[in-house]
Amino acid sequence: MATANQNPENIGFPMAQVVNFTTTNLSNGDPFVEPHTVSGPSGSFNVPVSAINIGNNKIVIPLTSNTSTGANFLKLHLPQPNSSTFYVTFCVKNRAMQDGYYDYTTGIPSDYRTDLRTFTRDGSGLIPSGGATYVKTLVFQVIGLDTNVTSAAVQYMVKFSAVFAGAGTGGSFPGVAGSFLA
């Protein structure tokens, strides 16, 4: 029997990163309670992002070109029906799980960290001698499900950053994960 992941709400920060959405009725300034729906992701400048829909309202993004069992992924939990909450969790493909991916709850293993740094660095070139911080951006849009005013859609971004030491300082070269600085 397949195993269920913990609810992201129960996993908690930082292993479950959360975004909450709200709607304001501009006619009277009051909040309007409604569920929300998210579209995306795309990369910066609308660069496509490799993403796989799994189950209901969940997307996984492979950190590397490997998508087989044991490979590392990001999992995006889009707002469920009657929900205004978006989560990011860190998972590994695992057939024993109900949705096919195991969400880490206490931390990430070293191979996951390496893959996440590679994903974040996104094939950038030689690291400067002074080191560098690389950022990978995923872009989403959200609207209210009931109000459905697409012209008022708000864009939000999930950014992953990693710090790399520079070459000549014990740091890294292209394709090689650098040492952690901060």
Binding site: P14, N20, T23, T24, Y104, R113, A153, Y156, A162, V163
Partner: protein, 146 residues
């Protein structure tokens, strides 16, 4: 279907159910719920033609409510205390069209720093994989079946 005369004044006649009358006269304090909401307030209506029986020329008498099923030709008073739930209904739409969506993020950016993610504890291990037929290194012996 309805007929609107050409006269200046148009009358609309409403018939209340037993429950509606109880709410109207606040029978035993029934009109307001625990939240103070007025239960007599009209919140739904139907555009379906539930209050006309073309098989009779009689008008409804005061207090009578038509047969909502439309299957009883001579019946005018059938729903003494009935909550109608299965007909197409329309709720007064108070959904705003002038809205602003927002997130609880600073600058609408969720920044996840790799360095802020802890190392996995030794006690956390994903479940052992389930053996799936067709994935294993199976071999087939073509001479095995006689």
């Amino acid at each position: 279907m309805g007929y609107i005369p050409s006269a200046d004044t148009v009358y609309a006649v409403a018939y209340l159910t037993e429950t509606g009358r109880a709410y109207l006269f606040d029978d035993n304090g029934s009109r307001f719920d625990v939240n103070g909401d007025d239960l007599f307030e009209i919140t739904k209506f139907t555009l379906s033609d539930t209050d006309t029986n073309y098989q009779t020329i009689l008008n409804l008498s005061t207090g009578e409510v038509p047969d909502v099923t439309g299957k009883s030709e001579g019946c005018l008073k059938t729903t003494a205390n009935y909550v109608q739930t299965n007909l197409l209904a329309f709720v007064f739409d108070d959904t705003p069209t002038n809205v602003e969506y927002s997130t609880d993020l600073d600058g609408d950016i969720l920044l996840i720093k790799e360095g802020d993610l802890p190392n996995k504890s030794a006690g956390e291990n994903p479940p052992a994989p389930i053996l799936v037929l067709g994935e294993g290194p199976f071999t087939f012996n073509p001479g095995g079946i006689n």
